[in-house]
């Protein structure tokens, strides 16, 4: 049943289309995707697809590995060689994929819980090894898929289903964590900063070595709702009003507090031999 269209403005127009220019890099037969209205993950994928498009390599040269969680579903929507692995294990899987297939650009696209909680050990080791993979960590401060539980990235005092009286813990400072382990490219953007996010993704993917791009993204149904922050659109507005770009900031200073200023930008961009550079060269 369709409502009879009512136009509030006689000039209002809807040009309807059935396909999108980005569809050639998406598994169209699976759209619309499962993410909630005003979820930021779709926007991250949008920037990612633009990044892939802009890089002068054929799509076969890319592989996406994701874990479990809302962001983990990304692998199922991109039309590339994509791998939806177990919780927390996207990075070691990507490590194996990369080491046996070094020509492909391997991108890990997963969420904060998957990468930093259960996957934390793998994250720090991949950074330490300077494994030539790119990690896109979509940080929505919560475990979305399972209904809104505490994550190691949940800001102090925030409410979640497993911290109903407010989070008593302090979150990881993800850029600081991976930078201190030896990552050669570390950046943080938000789902709002689509253009700069795309550029960061391109830089991260093309840069040899371990790159991490943390993307602060709105979780409307859970994080926003449980903390009475409105919807994802309100969170996007919050990013608009409270993010401050500080390239080359000291990563030790980019902690995120609850509804506080978020420092974004490109924090680390250094040169170092990768794992395979060193392995293939040997010692002496």
């Amino acid at each position: 049943m369709s409502a009879s269209p009512t136009k509030t403005n006689s000039d209002a127009k809807v040009n309807k289309a059935t396909t999108h220019p980005k569809d050639r890099l998406l598994r169209q037969d699976r759209l619309p995707h499962i993410w909630c209205p005003t979820c930021g993950i779709g926007t991250c994928v949008s920037s990612f697809v633009e990044a892939i498009d802009e890089i002068d390599l054929p799509p076969e040269q890319f592989a996406v590995v994701s874990g479990i969680g809302c962001t983990g579903r990304v692998a199922g929507y991109v039309k590339l060689d994509s791998f939806h692995t177990t919780h927390g294990r996207a990075i070691p899987f990507a490590t194996g994929l990369h080491l046996t297939n070094p020509k492909q650009k391997v991108i890990v696209f997963s969420g904060d819980g998957d990468l930093v909680a259960i996957g934390g050990n793998h994250l720090i080791h991949a950074a330490r090894r300077n494994m030539d993979i790119t990690v896109i960590c979509v940080n929505n401060f919560i475990y979305g898929m399972t209904g809104g539980q505490l994550a190691p990235t949940t800001p102090h005092t925030a409410k979640t289903t497993t911290s109903p009286a407010g989070n008593t813990e302090f979150p990881f400072n993800v850029p600081h964590l991976v930078a201190s382990c030896g990552a050669t490219y570390v950046a943080r953007w938000t789902a709002l900063h689509v253009r700069r996010l795309k550029r960061a993704m391109i830089e991260a993917i093309m840069k040899p070595g371990f790159s991490l791009v943390e993307v602060i993204a709105p979780c409307s149904t859970l994080y926003a709702r449980k903390n009475r922050l409105g919807s994802g659109t309100d969170l996007m507005q919050f990013y608009h009003d409270n993010c401050e770009v500080q390239h080359n900031a000291n990563t030790a200073d980019v902690d995120i507090g609850f509804q506080n200023k978020i420092i974004i930008g490109k924090f680390v961009d250094i040169e170092k031999p990768t794992f395979l550079d060193r392995y293939n060269k040997g010692i002496g």
């Binding site: 598994r27 076969e60 592989a63 039309k79 939806h84 194996g96 990369h98 080491l99 040997g282």
Partner: protein, 385 residues
């Protein structure tokens, strides 16, 4: 400058089971190993770390066994034959991702050099306590292939067989050795390269627009696609349909998951491998595997000298279990004797299959030592009394 040795060290060697398993992997064409040190499997990793650069392969020591298992799944999808090795505690950690390998139908080999358990147990001493874990260790319904060598020579041979089975049936294959076989040093003959048949990966002949990731052949195994060739492979641990896309509904579960079991059970006779000695006229069969089989063979010889008609059946492939053969023998014999270095694991399978038709006598050992022949003979005598 001397040439680096190749993958196949043709000739006679004096090496231990762990090293032989590593050499078997290289001979089978393995060029990726991701592992973590654990007694008594460490020598497999050490040997691979030394030899893989010789064959243009990559060795990586991962941060734990969970990462090792995931890395070899990734390595397999990257296009290389991949292996890891571990023992009991690491094997427990690997279970979730063995399940991922089964669900995504990823060929790879996992070596478990069994030691005394449970928990940290006896790190340096023998046991066969993971045999049921090999079959049921991961969650969910599935079938597995597990081999059991009883000598360093068999470690070499059965590792090659493991790679062949993993590529043929598209799943992780387990090589269940034990601390004695792994650490004993014996003569290992490595044949000429031409005599070793390296398993080829079953790749699809279809073009990307016609290819369906889990559309299977007659033997219920779907051909794989190579990544980086435009197939846009998608694999997931979620229940998935023929395209490989998540489809978390009961009808798809019904269609797709029993096939993971059927592809093993329906091909069990082709996969299975066991050795029989003097079973034709046997009244008692000693059913054994791994290091225990060497003592058991001695025990059967001693029993024969006493006039007991004992037959010897040694499993080289423990899972899938050769049910059909046990049923045939059950109709003929007074009983089975199952010596194993555990408190009763494979014996449960024998009991289940014979279903009371004949006696089943377990000769257990809690671990740390190999049986004495006398205890096995006592078990044999228990059957015929």
């Amino acid at each position: 400058m001397s040439k680096a040795p190749g993958a196949v060290l043709t000739g006679e060697h004096f090496m231990n089971g762990d090293v032989a398993a590593a050499e078997g992997a290289l001979a089978a064409g393995c060029t990726f190993f991701a592992g973590y040190p654990i007694t008594p499997a460490t020598e497999v990793a050490e040997r691979m770390s030394k030899r893989l650069p010789d064959v243009g392969g990559v060795y990586i020591q991962m941060e734990d066994e969970i990462a090792s298992m995931c890395a070899i799944l990734g390595g397999s999808w990257g296009g290389r034959k991949s292996m890891t090795s571990t023992s009991g505690p690491g094997f427990s950690l690997m279970q979730e991702n063995i399940g991922l390998g089964i669900m995504t139908e990823t060929p790879c080999v996992v070596v478990n050099v069994q030691r005394g358990g449970p928990s940290t147990g006896l790190p340096t001493l023998v046991a066969q306590q993971d045999m049921m874990q090999a079959r049921w260790g991961s969650h969910g319904d599935y079938e597995i292939i597990a081999l059991s060598p009883n000598s360093p020579q068999e470690c070499f041979n059965l590792t090659i067989e493991a790679f062949k089975l993993s590529e043929t049936y598209r799943l992780p294959v387990l090589l269940m050795t034990d601390e004695v076989v792994g650490h004993m040093t014996e003569k290992v003959v490595i044949p000429a390269t031409s005599k070793i048949k390296q398993a080829k990966r079953r790749l699809t002949k279809k073009k990307p627009d016609k290819y369906l990731a889990y559309e299977h052949d007659k033997d219920l195994v779907p051909p794989m696609a190579e990544i980086g060739k435009g197939y846009n492979v998608h694999i997931t641990g979620l229940t998935h349909d023929e395209r490989g896309y998540p489809a978390v509904v009961a009808p798809v579960q019904k269609r797709m998951v029993p096939r993971l079991l059927d592809k093993i059970t329906q091909n069990a006779k082709a996969i299975s491998k066991f050795e029989e000695i003097n079973t034709d006229d046997a009244e008692v069969i000693v059913l054994c595997y791994g290091i225990t089989s060497r003592v058991a063979l001695k025990a059967t010889e001693m029993a024969r000298d006493k006039g007991i008609k004992v037959g010897f059946l040694r499993l080289q492939v423990v899972w899938p279990f050769p049910e059909w053969r046990i049923r045939e023998l059950a109709a003929q014999v007074k009983g089975f004797v199952v010596p194993e270095i555990n408190m009763g694991q494979v014996v449960l399978e024998v009991e289940r299959i014979v279903a009371g038709q004949t006696k089943t006598v377990l000769v257990p050992h809690p671990g740390g030592e190999v049986h004495d022949p006398e205890t096995i003979i006592a078990g044999i005598e228990e059957v015929i009394k």
